[in-house]
Amino acid sequence: MRVTENHLATQYLNNVQNTRQRVADLQSKIASGKRVLKPSDDPRATDGILRFQALLEANEQYQRSNADGQSFLQATSETLGSISDSLLGLKGLLVRANNSANIETLPSFATSADAILGDLVDMANTRFNGKYIFGGTNTLERPFTLDAARTAVTTNPNGIDGVIAYPVGEGITQQSNIPGDEAFQGTTIFDTIIRIRDTMAAGTIPTAADIDEVSAQLDYMLTKAGKAGMFVNTMTANEAFLASQETQLRSLLSIEQDTDVAEAITEMKRGELMLDAALNTMARILPKSLLDFLR
């Protein structure tokens, strides 16, 4: 093949251009730390990156849901615990009242029972973050009302039922409240207390059956507090799972997206070496011609 100066120059320029292009590509990958800066860098990996980014963002959202749900349920559980404490106090009161020696002081027992009733209604109307925790899905309306004569407790006519579910994972929801109708069996607890208070006020000693009834209510309340506590535990476990999932997603995203710096630098060194070699040889060969040797 006949080789001309033009041919040498063009080929040399093409080679140097290609090598420079490669070095520049590697340089931007090292500088940005990212292997995929645009879809054409790796279309398959781009799909992965977009999916993992979406999953990560959703994961962060679910972690927030879990944290929120936990604090709401924690408040529910604590309130139910306090209500249990009050019921325990009421039970002690009734045990003491259930003694013919105390018949003189029954009215004061009745007053104490009335105070406990008031406390319970207040606690049943506890708000957390602006929501009535026992309002069911009617979170903005007071669920329980004690009438002025303190003879009856009524519930929100719009209902105090309704489970609230929090999104805690991809397609997974977790109950995050104990509806009022479930926690208080409608108004059964209040009705019981009102009846016993009125009995005592009328001068009748509360019976063992009354005490058993309050005991049963106490047990019931403790199981509900336990249920709320169990939901908290579920969400705590879920949060830990989401956190480990986040770590996994981040490493998957990194595999698709990030530059293998060691490899890229090795590649770049090789490119530089090739560039040096090309420039060096051409600097020797290109200027040579017959002219150099004519006289």
Binding site: N6, P39, L50, Q53, A58, T139, A165, L294
Partner: protein
């Protein structure tokens, strides 16, 4: 008889021939770097001998022809490969612009807007009673609508810009065919006068190369040396005549017709062909996908939203979340913007119920596209990676084709390129011959002097 004056004549012919050869060598050297130039060669031939009593006696040299060294076959091959290269290069360029418009993967692309929009409903599900979270949903919805508008606007703009490019290329074609026609006429005229118009032929070849990058051509030389150039079977240039190529838009598609031919070009190829492919098929397809996406978004969100209840007494219900039908018109229902309480979160009208907010967030997993097998986010991801693949494919085709063209150009250069070493060697050769011929003149002169002195 070999008279002294005959020898003098031989020397004169030689001097002329060597001077011509050195002239051509100079022409070659000075054009060593000129694009499209083919090296020229002076062809020497002995003049007709004289018949004498002693047999044939030589009469010197004559330059029979100054011609260019060129191989038409390589030219044809280069032109054949150039149009495919041009097509791949222009497709890659335009797809690169589409990629830039998409701006993925990034924190502010449509993909991120989609994620944030769906997550905003999950967040609202935690606090359906609070207006701050409602505002967040509206904000993310607005950003999403804007992302759709922006993407649609940029793609439509890109689509329109291709048309400018098409018109510029058609103008280039028409300019080139006109120039080729004129050059062809000059060449044919020169040839008929018996001259070899090497430089004009180089020029014509270069214009043909340029033309073949824009559109697929066929160019064949007839017996008179005229180049018949045709596009899609219709003659567009030869012997001073040229016919314009016309681009027009019919039913939203660019149609290219050579001259007044009623038949549109089916295969265009070249950079013009790449543009037309992008304008007629590829970009509209992408725009259509974006519309499909927006439309699915509007339908799924509205269907879930309409059945739900917002806040208020009585709770607001029956409202659409989005208005509009596609990526250009998608927007948040203006009623919601002024009444965030109307954003539906509840399935029964109770403020704490978040069933509808959850259902809205779950729309991201609903298989509603591609005939019910693809979710909205995945549909978009597929579009993004399809564009990435298309760029890679065009890029691959471009680099392969570039390799072929470079190889062919090397071959052409090997045949037609100027080698300085070679020209210098020739220069020395011709100079020596010139020196020797001059010595011949002085020798003959001395011989004549000798004879004159005898008298």
């Amino acid at each position: 008889m070999a008279s002294l004056s005959n020898i003098l004549e031989i020397a004169r012919r030689s001097l002329t021939a060597q001077r011509l050869a050195i002239n051509t060598t100079g022409h070659n050297i000075s054009n060593a770097g000129t694009p499209g130039f083919s090296r020229q060669r002076v062809e020497f031939a002995p003049t007709d001998p004289m018949r004498t009593a002693f047999g044939f006696v030589g009469t010197g040299v004559i330059t029979s022809r100054i011609g260019r060294v060129r191989e038409g076959f390589i030219d044809q091959q280069i032109r054949g490969a150039s149009d495919t290269l041009g097509s791949a290069a222009s497709q890659q360029k335009i797809l690169g612009q589409v990629e830039a418009v998409l701006n993925e993967p990034a924190d502010n692309g449509l993909s991120a807007s989609l994620n944030r929009f769906y997550n905003a409903f999950n967040e609202l599900a935690l606090h359906p009673e609070e207006s701050a979270y409602r505002s967040n949903v509206l904000q993310q919805g607005t950003l999403l609508s804007q992302s759709f508008h922006q993407l649609n606007k940029n793609l439509t703009q890109l689509h329109g810009d291709i048309l400018n490019d098409v018109n510029a290329k058609v103008a280039d074609i028409n300019r080139l065919t006109k120039e080729i026609g004129q050059l062809d006429l000059q060449i044919v005229t020169a040839l008929s006068g018996g001259d070899e118009p090497s430089d004009l032929k180089d020029k014509r070849d270069m214009k043909l190369d340029e033309l073949s990058k824009i559109v697929r051509i066929s160019a064949n030389e007839d017996t008179n040396g005229s180049m018949i150039v045709s596009i899609g079977g219709a003659e567009v240039a030869s012997r001073g005549l040229s016919t314009d190529v016309v681009a027009s838009i019919e039913n939203g598609q660019v149609v290219i017709r050579p001259g007044n031919s009623p038949r549109a070009l089916s295969v265009i190829s070249g950079s013009l062909g790449g543009d037309v492919e992008m304008f007629n098929r590829v970009i509209p397809d992408y725009i259509d996908k974006v519309h499909q996406l927006a439309s699915a978004m509007i339908t799924t969100v509205n269907n879930a939203h309409r059945a739900g209840f917002g806040l208020g007494t009585p709770p607001l219900t029956g409202n659409d979340f989005f208005v509009g039908t596609d990526a250009a018109t998608i927007d948040i229902n203006p009623f919601l913007l002024t009444n965030p309480a109307a954003i539906a979160t509840s399935s029964d009208g109770r403020p704490g119920n978040n069933d509808v907010a959850l259902a809205l967030a779950a729309q991201k997993s609903a298989m509603v596209l591609d005939g019910g097998v693809t979710t909205i986010p995945q549909f978009y991801n597929n579009l993004v990676s399809a564009i990435g693949s298309a760029i890679n494919q065009a890029g691959y085709q471009e680099s392969t084709q570039q390799l072929i063209v470079t190889q062919l150009e090397n071959q052409r250069n090997s045949v037609s390129g100027v080698s300085i070493d070679e020209e210098m060697t020739n220069l020395i050769k011709y100079q020596r011959a010139f020196d020797a011929s001059a010595r011949l003149v002085s020798t003959v002169d001395e011989m004549m002097q000798t004879i004159i002195d005898l008298v």
